[in-house]
Symmetry: D2
Subunit: 314 residues, 4 copies
């Protein structure tokens, strides 16, 4: 149960079987930092090429192919006072004919106040060098801070190195607002040590990441890794205080939803004593779906079930 304080020296734009940056024990905690999607650190300095650069990978002792890596996000906190977003809806989230009327996208700066727990758009120049004035109609806009991590995962199988632009069974760029502090995520281990990567923090994000960004910012993160031996899963899973959830990553959304739904069925069958019919009956009247992202190459759909409801069945 060691706490490792780790200072990243390099970043990866794929999730793959890269040389481990740190080796940790089963149950250990790592306190480290992530840089923003554009490669800027807590000081606003560019320290890596953009595209969701990842901190890690972390080699977890004892994790072997066929196991599950459980990662609890103990802390996800922005570590600088401003982030940025796109300003125009992605072309793929509106009706094709609607694209004809979309303005050009710029970058907008947001003031992020961790103490106050708020974010607000601001007129200052973005770190990317373009200035964009806050529209008058949004001068009073304040949103509650809701930090989440956009991209994390473990090395995929067969030597793949998968771009941090996209996602799959290994995790990746899922951009789901539910990946917040307090959540434990479960990932299918494909290589010895699992090789966990993490990056792409958002101070806030709407469902779908439909302007192509959340409020992109660097983070202080703390997470704890545990190995669940012989507990094979197919797609990422997670849980928080109230819900268990399964994650599907694919295009179209229909296929992402199929992956998430099938994974939830397997979970209910394996761990909750329901057969295929009982799982169907329950899910049919009690399931919730969330849209993770509809911007990245693979979209993300989450299938949720209430832990209180599941507990009431026993």
């Amino acid at each position: 149960m060691t706490l490792h304080r780790f200072q990243p020296r390099r970043y990866h734009s794929t999730i793959g079987s890269h040389e481990p940056e740190l080796r940790i024990g089963d149950g250990d905690t790592v306190a480290t930092t992530t840089i923003d999607a554009g490669g800027r650190d807590r000081n606003g300095d560019v320290v890596a090429q953009g595209g969701n650069p990842q901190t890690g990978p972390f080699f977890v002792d004892g994790a072997e192919p066929g196991d599950v890596l459980a990662v609890t996000f103990d802390r996800l906190t922005p570590n600088r006072p401003s982030g940025y977003t796109g300003t125009v809806l992605a072309e793929n989230v509106v009706d094709p004919i609607h694209v004809r009327t979309l303005p050009a996208s710029r970058l907008l700066s947001w003031a992020v106040d961790v103490e106050a727990g708020t974010v607000r758009p601001q007129d200052v120049e973005t770190q990317e060098g373009s200035s964009f004035a806050v529209p008058d109609s949004l001068r009073r806009l304040t949103l509650p801070l809701a930090p989440m991590v956009g991209c994390f995962g473990v090395a995929p199988q067969r030597g793949e190195a998968i771009s941090t632009a996209t996602s799959g069974r290994h995790g990746g760029n899922m951009d789901y607002r539910g990946f917040s502090a307090g959540v434990t995520v479960y990932l299918p281990v494909s290589v010895s040590g699992a090789l966990f990567h993490i990056g792409d923090g958002h101070a806030v994000q709407g469902d779908g990441e439909i302007v192509g960004t959340g409020i992109e910012i660097s983070f202080d993160v703390e997470f704890t890794c545990r190995v669940r031996r012989g507990r094979s899963i197919t797609w990422p899973r997670g849980e928080n205080a109230d819900w268990i959830f399964a994650v599907g990553n694919a295009r179209p959304l229909d296929q992402a939803l199929q992956h998430a739904t099938s994974e939830m069925v397997r979970w209910l069958e394996e761990d909750h004593g329901l057969d295929a019919t009982a799982a169907s009956i329950l899910m049919g009247q009690a399931v919730h779906y969330d849209v993770g992202n509809v911007f990245d190459p693979a979209y993300t759909v989450v299938c949720r079930m209430s832990k209180e409801l599941l507990g009431s069945l026993r």
Copy 2:
């Protein structure tokens, strides 16, 4: 502001320019009943062919093509003590290979207690004549009653008569759990009188209607119709105490989401003083998506925005 008590004499399995069953004034309220998706009434008697038979249509004085019909669901209450559901996930909501393991679907009866506000699966024979025992693992299952209406709409344009199995710009079989009492829905009027239809009540339904049914039951309904002249919309909209929402109906989910997103942009532009960029910025960090149904020929996605947040901008 008349209250019309209306006893249906016939039902329709399409939403179209059928002979009006009742003519009402702008602002009038109708108290009537709907039968369940299989055509059974409050007594369990089959009074119409199955497939979401609709009560109505109701001709609303003053509604003309290009207007909007606003319908407030004042009351949606099951009017009998039992409903039924399917027992197996629909083939299209799981991974294709997963279909190979699905059992055959049956019908399950549910006890619906309006007073207690609960629903519970029960062993009694279903009204459809097949008996299906509650799985032991679900013997303790109780869900809170959450009535909603699966299918409603107005006559579409150009003489179409659209099956109540599906949905479109006119409304139809959207099976969205958010269509509950207290909601006002907005529908684009295509013919004189709008010709509002309603049916297919569910005592409870999970997101997606993934077993092909909610808890199907007959309803006592009360709704109030108002005409908004010259307020053209493209897709159904709605609002409740906390949210405004836009509805897209299509396959795949991606296209349904595009319709809903574009409709929300138009709404924010037209009624909330935001231009395309401001609407994008706000939606990007604050939008919510719901999955209505992923079972019917057209799927349904809902795009929601907080009324409190919109109010805070002024």
Copy 3:
């Protein structure tokens, strides 16, 4: 085996259970005309509202629900010297970001020479009143005449009246270039008399109808209707000298392809003596797919098998 010469008096913009325009016997032939997609006749006069107005319906004696109507297109010939097309790719057939660069769409006129068997773009004003000059780069463009019918079908079930903008199990606006003279199409009968409709002739069309039109023109048509009793099918089918083919209509293309593939399996099983495995083996190495349209609300995919190959198995 009567030949009926029929002069249309009205046109329909839905395919549904409309009052029959003509009653014919099983095996009879009808010689009639169709107007273009915009409602213009052989003289260029607007005689109906646009949107693929249909000639018919024709009531075929003896056709009952559960039967199949076989319609042979004996003759499909443009009956005026010019047609028109759109000039810009539909927004939904290019990458979403590509839509930002699409110019506005106009109408372009094409000279149609039935004798010579050619079509060529021309500078004359279109019948729709806008003039559009042939781009210099296309001054030498000549395409071989290849007439086909974009939209036809029979009344759907349960009282539906389906817009001629779209398609389904009943047929409809499939815009498949393979629906040319010499083809026999098979349609599932849902109402007494089948109620066959036809319209929307194209002098030429590329795969997909990706500018939203073929070369839209009025036709002289001749077709022969035969009833196949008790030969239930689920989706439209067809055959020509070389191929049998099954048609799926849906979005996305994936689902249209699933419909077409499943229909071909059923055909091989029922009529060609193959079981599920033999049909799979054969189709796996010998099937062809065509893209009908990717413009209309429902897309169209065609699954083809060689008649020579099927014959060689016996």
Copy 4:
């Protein structure tokens, strides 16, 4: 213009920036072999793990990021007398409800006679060890030999190593029957030397690869690599004697078609002197689409234009 005779020593199950196996000059030809999708060589021996193992990569002198690598398939010839296929349609190519009736898939052996130019199913045990009798209904089945290569590509950008199960802008597992001898393919170069990989030969394949395989077999291959400097492309392209074609890889098919269509527009604009409108007009009435595969994680759609037609415009 050297001819390199190359004997592979290892194979890759990703396409990525692997150590080059051979360095060749711009314009050089390589004569080598590929093993089948299951990792078996010309003798039927397993020499690599299954999953479309690739021969290569080949480093082509002078190829730099932003260039195009042109590869002409001079020869693609099966080098052993038998291949194998699956026997059941993939679950994703039929209607979801149809999956319930699919039998289990086996492996079927096919006799491949290069001299005679034919393939025929046969009763002998497959190399994979399971025997499967030819269904009686297919005892007379003979198909013409039509060799094609299922998977090839160049190293993708940003250090990705992409599984040979799937495809993308770099090429990959496209399973398009049009990739046959005589074709020249064009691939976007992302790394120095391009790093060309090739494997997964099929003696025959139907459109879509809908049983999950073509007739899988090892090949003798000969191909010539040329660098086109500064000729940036986005998606793979190709040409044969009669057609130029652009390839899109994605799910759903709709998106693959969008990629292919946009790529063809760019081609016509850049190399054929057409502006966006002229390209649209021409494609609208003359384009062809082919379905590559609908089995792999990314589907493949090909957009074709006639070279004779393009030549006639000048």
